[in-house]
């Protein structure tokens, strides 16, 4: 039985062009990336496209990934940027009006239960929505949220606190409506 000493890490292999290594690095992050994109874009197809484009951009930028750095905030920041790009192109190419949830067809209890939060979130600016989704839905700790949005952990915490307070106010206001 041969014993081979450890040589390349996945990151090193990916940087040297090993697409299997890159895919192995990326695959555990795809579901979270998809959830992020869906919440930011409110559309399954757009979310899939955004994750696909982000994966391609990540592959082209993998040489920038530092050994030992965390793959998740790096990749999710690319996904978030891709969502920003997608929103801008959609804004100019398609006239969109906000489609109220719950009006098209009957939804089950689980879907209806989250309607208030989803509605409140959709009314918020994208950068506030982003920090809220990263921390409260994708369960990223503050240092990773900071890594995604490109700030310090302290700044990320402040932004998250302000966004959370605004979300709660919006939800309270929604509850007060007849």
């Amino acid at each position: 039985m041969a014993v081979q000493p450890a040589t390349l890490s996945l990151v090193q292999a990916a940087k040297q062009g090993d697409d299997s290594a890159f895919e192995a690095l990326l695959e555990p992050l795809l579901q979270q990336a998809y959830r992020l994109a869906f919440v930011m874009l409110h559309d399954h197809h757009a979310a899939e496209d955004a994750v696909q484009e982000a994966a391609l951009k990540a592959w082209r930028k993998v040489s920038q990934l530092r050994e030992g750095s965390d793959m998740r905030p790096w990749f999710l920041s690319i996904v978030a940027n891709q969502c920003r790009t997608a929103r801008r192109s959609r804004w100019w190419s398609v006239l969109r009006t906000a489609t109220p949830e719950g009006t098209s067809h009957p939804a089950d209890d689980a879907v209806l239960e989250g309607l208030e939060l989803r509605t409140a979130l959709r009314g918020m600016a994208p950068d506030k929505r982003l920090v809220l989704v990263l921390h409260w839905y994708l369960d990223l700790p503050l240092d990773e949220v900071a890594g995604v949005i490109g700030t310090s952990a302290h700044a990320a915490e402040s932004r998250l606190l302000r966004a959370t307070n605004e979300l709660k106010r919006r939800m309270e206001a929604h509850r007060g409506r007849p």
Binding site: A6, G17, L30, P141
Partner: protein, 455 residues
């Protein structure tokens, strides 16, 4: 900042409308193959006056730094210590040999299917448990002392078996100065034919004479290694993670002042769990939702009694899991052992009592899924009875009271589907075959005893 209620609300709101996308990995892979470059390209370096000037400045800076460092080193040497080799000072844990005596401790087996599986000491079977072969890495024994015997096991030896071909073993190495200098993890993806050895994992644990480790992998690439100083009522636990199948490890977190903790379990897409023996009146489970970087201590819904232990835990997916919890309930001065089944359906955020065990003392439990469990129950008679539930513990039916006569004291139960199950006893020594091995192919009514041997 933490707000469990808001977090749960987010999950409820979006888990209901964001479907899982299992096809996404294949779709991304195809997209990369069709549109990605074969080798990531780097932008061409511009050859104008700026680049040579920058290069010259950089060269000057490097030379200046080297001169400064050389002068500093003349006054003060900062040693860079590689992992040290050595047998360790007196009192360090010894190799486990055939003459070490004592049992192998907890016995565990992983059966990938009816024929292929693993047992303590990296023993592997391909005929359902009759014949076992030691496929542990030879490099693991390279520094075994003379006279250790044929197949000694090194200090700190631990193992984890994922499926029929993927397994990991780890061991500690001492140095002249310490019993625990570093750890090596060996990984196989071909059922033990070949093994890769990891880069040394420098032990952060300050242990006197005993260090304990646990390994847990969720797939061939992603795993965790937990280390703590052993033999203490409370200790600090150090968690390391790997994303490349155990070849490289980085320290993620430190959990301070915990009682003895076993049952490290990670499942894909988080969360991860660490169950600890508790001396408090309420049992707790440590849960991480960020791959081990931070941990929260969760209270489990059993309130009365003291001295809780999680005997067994299974997490079927990121949402559903079951625990078997035992506790000492004091009635006057006499402790009475009580056993509980509790379950989660939301990734450990909330737990409910799933059902009760049948009357008697549970000796071994197997969890197949959220509904199907088997339990070996001592009813105060010569041989125990085997019970089964199909509704998650709400009701149980006896399958048999006619098990072959043997010592059931440390028996284990394992079912890989509704029909195929195994019941086994611990080995006398690490690396030896299980003392007993029974097989069922009808869901537990009839059992056939085989006589396992290591070849």
């Amino acid at each position: 900042m933490e707000d469990p209620r808001l977090r749960a609300e987010f999950h409820r709101a979006f888990d209901a409308v964001v479907p899982p996308a299992p096809w996404l990995a294949g779709s991304v892979r195809q997209g990369l193959r069709e549109r990605g470059p074969a080798v990531p390209t780097r932008p061409a370096l511009r050859t104008n006056w700026l680049a040579p000037a920058v290069a010259l400045l950089l060269a000057i800076a490097i030379v200046a730094t080297l001169i400064y460092v050389a002068r500093s080193q003349a006054q003060r040497t900062i040693p860079v210590l590689p992992p040290r080799q050595g047998q360790g000072p007196d009192g360090c844990p010894q190799w486990i040999t055939a003459n070490s005596g004592g049992g192998s401790g907890q016995s565990s087996a992983t059966m990938a299917n009816a024929s292929t599986g693993w047992f303590n000491g990296a023993l592997r079977t391909t005929d359902g448990g009759t014949h076992w072969r030691d496929v542990s890495p030879p490099a693991m024994r390279a520094d075994a002392p003379r006279g250790s015997g044929e197949r000694p096991y090194p200090p700190g030896y631990v193992e984890f078996f994922l499926d029929s071909t993927h397994a990991w073993v780890a061991r500690t190495y001492g140095s002249a100065a310490t019993c625990f200098d570093h750890v090596s993890v060996f990984a196989t993806s071909d059922g033990g034919l070949t093994w890769d050895e990891s880069a040394p994992v420098i032990a952060a644990v300050q242990a006197d004479t005993t260090m304990q480790m646990q390994l847990s992998f969720v797939d061939p690439l992603h795993g965790w290694l937990l280390m703590n100083a052993g033999g203490r009522l409370v200790a600090d636990y150090f968690l390391y993670s790997s994303m490349d199948g155990g070849r490289h490890w980085k320290q993620d977190s430190q959990l301070k002042d915990l009682p003895p903790c076993s049952g490290l379990a990670f499942i894909p897409q988080t969360p991860g769990y660490l169950s600890c023996k508790s001396y408090a009146s309420t049992p707790t489970l440590n849960v991480t939702r960020d791959g081990g970087k931070t941990w929260n201590s969760m209270r489990l819904p059993i309130s009365a009694g003291s001295g809780y232990s999680v005997q067994s835990s299974v997490f079927f997916d990121q949402d559903r899991g079951v625990l078997w919890l035992s506790a000492q309930i004091y009635e006057g001065n006499s402790p009475r052992s009580s056993n509980f089944l509790i379950a989660t359906t939301d990734g450990g955020r909330t737990w409910q009592q799933a059902g009760d065990f049948p009357q008697g003392y549970p000796m071994a439990v197997a969890f197949l899924d959220t509904n199907n469990f088997w339990a070996l129950i001592s009813e105060g008679k010569v041989a125990p009875a085997l019970y089964q539930t199909n509704d998650g513990g709400k009701s149980w039916a006896v399958l048999t009271r006619d098990l072959p006569p043997w010592q059931f004291g440390s028996s284990r139960l394992l079912f890989i589907d509704q029909r195929t199950g195994f019941m086994f006893g611990p080995s006398q020594q690490l690396g030896q075959a299980p003392s007993t091995w029974l097989v069922t192919s009808d869901g537990g009514r009839m059992w056939k005893e085989v006589h396992p041997q290591v070849s």
